[in-house]
Symmetry: C2
Subunit: 418 residues, 2 copies
């Protein structure tokens, strides 16, 4: 038996994606459909909420059209954070404060959309609820373009990033054939993925009846050897005038150092002592130009790959929406300390559904590309990889175009609290 329904609060956490707002839309729609009065949105996740920053989503989502716009709006609508709650015994006062705030807002359900850190937040808050007898339910909703979350077949956000990346790589490959160059040309495309090569591997999808695909693919799961790379590239150049190679930003040498650290470019983003991984492609392009005396170019897909909602995957945006709805449904039906996962029922035809899992089982482990899905010499991915990833980029969510550009959901004043 359910008490009279009161309010819901939802937050977004971790790196933004093209699909994270579709999950937000799914949470909102399901909450309203199930009779909740208000849906609050935390500004900048739990971190902003602790500081008292939140909005009433009804002031932002005023119509069914707004739901559709929100699904097509890149990045975190509510703002995101990278914040890990302390252990309960470390700062009980903080937990008391959070629950006081939630009670004051008459919250029944707390939904958090994010990656590993976000599931940790759900775990700790739901544990605290059990300890204190609070009736608030806490449910997590997965997202990450990196696809490195355990338990779930894949994560919302990955498919759309993969679709944009494969599209761009295909276009860059085609571009590579335009101009003839002495000794050939090598383009090195750098793709996001610090430890997991899912996105870099997805460049294989550019291969098809109308495109050779990338000529080599280097994932962070395999130790990178600059000498072998140069030799392999030299062999490729013997066979074709235009070579395109995809590398992960996270490739590392034998000594465990990131290849990007060998480059001069890495420093610039670093105002706080964190090295940002960028520059591996620039470094390798330089090496190839010097060693093979050919024209080279480094292409970093950069922020575009996680923000390109204009080339979102229908499968991904739909699943993100469903996962949001499933999280809300689970919380509504009394689940807490749970996260929603995607379960694949079939590769071809692709079918998938959602399940509810205990968030305590997540345990912060990163899911990486299995070694057997990478070719023996570490320069490509296998057919098994293709079978896995191909269904996730299918279908399009046409952007709603206004004045020649994709329209996003935005209300004046949204960023005032940011």
């Amino acid at each position: 038996m359910q008490n009279k329904k009161r309010n819901v609060i939802v937050g977004q956490s971790g790196g933004p994606t093209a699909a994270i707002n579709s999950s937000l839309a799914g949470v909102y729609k399901t909450a309203i459909d199930r009779g909740y009065k208000k849906v609050y949105g935390m500004i900048h996740g739990i971190q902003g909420f602790i500081e008292g920053r939140y909005i009433d989503l009804a002031e932002h989502i005023e119509s069914s059209l707004d739901i559709e716009l929100l699904k097509r709006t890149p990045a975190a609508y509510l703002g995101s954070c990278r914040y890990k709650l302390p252990e309960i015994h470390e700062d009980k006062a903080l937990y008391e404060k959070i629950f006081e705030m939630l009670d004051k807002l008459q919250i029944d359900c707390f939904i958090y959309i994010g990656g590993n850190d976000s599931m940790d937040t759900i775990k700790k808050l739901s544990d605290y609820a059990i300890i204190t007898g609070s009736k608030i339910r806490f449910v997590g909703c997965p997202k990450t373009i990196d696809n490195d979350l355990a338990l779930t077949d894949h994560t919302p956000g990955f498919g759309s990033a993969a679709k944009f990346i494969a599209t761009s790589v295909k276009e860059v490959i085609r571009d590579g054939w335009s101009l003839e160059t002495k000794n050939g040309q090598v383009v090195i495309i750098e793709v996001m993925g610090r430890n997991a090569g899912w996105l870099t591997g997805a460049t294989v999808l550019a291969k098809g009846e109308d495109c050779d695909g990338p000529d080599a693919i280097y994932l962070p799961e395999v130790t990178f050897d600059v000498e072998k790379f140069v030799k392999h590239t030299k062999d490729l150049l013997k066979k074709k005038a235009s070579v395109v190679i995809a590398i992960s930003e996270g490739i590392k040498g034998k000594d465990g150092r990131y290849i990007s650290e060998l480059s001069d470019v890495t420093d610039y983003v670093d105002a706080f002592g964190h090295k940002q991984l960028t520059g591996a492609a620039v470094y390798l392009a330089k090496v190839v130009a010097e060693r093979l005396e050919c024209k080279t170019r480094a292409v970093e897909l950069s922020t575009l790959q996680r923000a390109a909602s204009h080339m979102a995957s229908l499968v991904d945006i739909t699943e993100a929406y469903e996962v949001g709805g499933a999280a809300m449904k689970a919380a509504d039906e009394g689940d807490s300390g749970k996260m929603i996962v995607i379960v694949r029922l079939s590769d071809d035809p692709y079918q998938a559904g959602t399940e509810v899992k205990d968030v305590h089982r997540i345990a912060n482990d990163e899911r990486r590309v299995p070694r057997e899905w990478i070719s023996k010499d570490g320069t490509y991915v296998t057919d098994e990889f293709v079978t896995y990833v191909e269904p996730l980029i299918q279908g399009e969510v046409g952007p709603i175009m206004v004045d020649g550009l994709p329209r996003h959901l935005y209300r004046p004043g949204l960023h005032d609290l940011f």
Copy 2:
């Protein structure tokens, strides 16, 4: 009176664009419709043709669907070149050879799609035809993403690049609001354009009801001052937590040196002694990070901006097609030594048509953004600029999606001659 129609040859030259193949499709379709027997395509432009490389386009374009695919295929389908013919008096033998080859292929019309150098080719070949009494007609068809060609209101290829750039900038701006950072965050987006700032200026289009647009825009038409830039950026950061700035790759300091030359990154592409312009954003991001102690990120739109046919402008692709058709029509009707230009009849509603101009009037001058279309302090563009550029990104040419990715026109073996 026209002789019995024989054959046509068409070539592509200069940097690739997302629209150059739409012009090729226009030439092909109009040539067939007007009763020409064969349409040959030069591989890598006049340079490849001199080496005997060309194809019969009928073996590539087999249906109306292929025409549609060709319109949506990025980069130069035939391959391109950067080759300037010598003056006639410098190498008469070369001209004799070219005309012998053209006669052997029974060519009546020679269409060349490209920028300034291509129009120079048309000029020289048509001059030689007059001198020698050849009846072959030579007509040029403009293209360049840089929009720096004189005489024409704008160039095919520009609108599609502008549309992709504005879309990406809008998405990056949105992404910038996701994560909160101490002292704020500055993203610097580097856009193509060595001497002309048309594409960088087009980032202004991201501004609208749902987006602030870039916070500052720096074109190569205005001398760049690093100190003023830092000061202006500091002021922007006082007003908002997430600042996005668009810069042209071609911005130069007072001393006439490219800002990119101040960066370490520039060297890597250079195997032949040509400095490639890239690295200005990386350099400035580093400066801002150091001086303003904030998080910064450099985003280079790189090859993507000229190859992104998946976000092509309908106006642009349609005009590119029409310009190709108009070039073929002009040649068919006896014009030679001419180029097609686009004439704007009205801004709102946007209306434009084509005209035939004497190619001798082109004279290699680059058309740059007028100073009065740039704000006084050189950090933005004016409403006049917006009025000019906005119509050119309107409408979409939906890619034909197969297996989740845009399909391009490709025949096995196409690249054998490349």
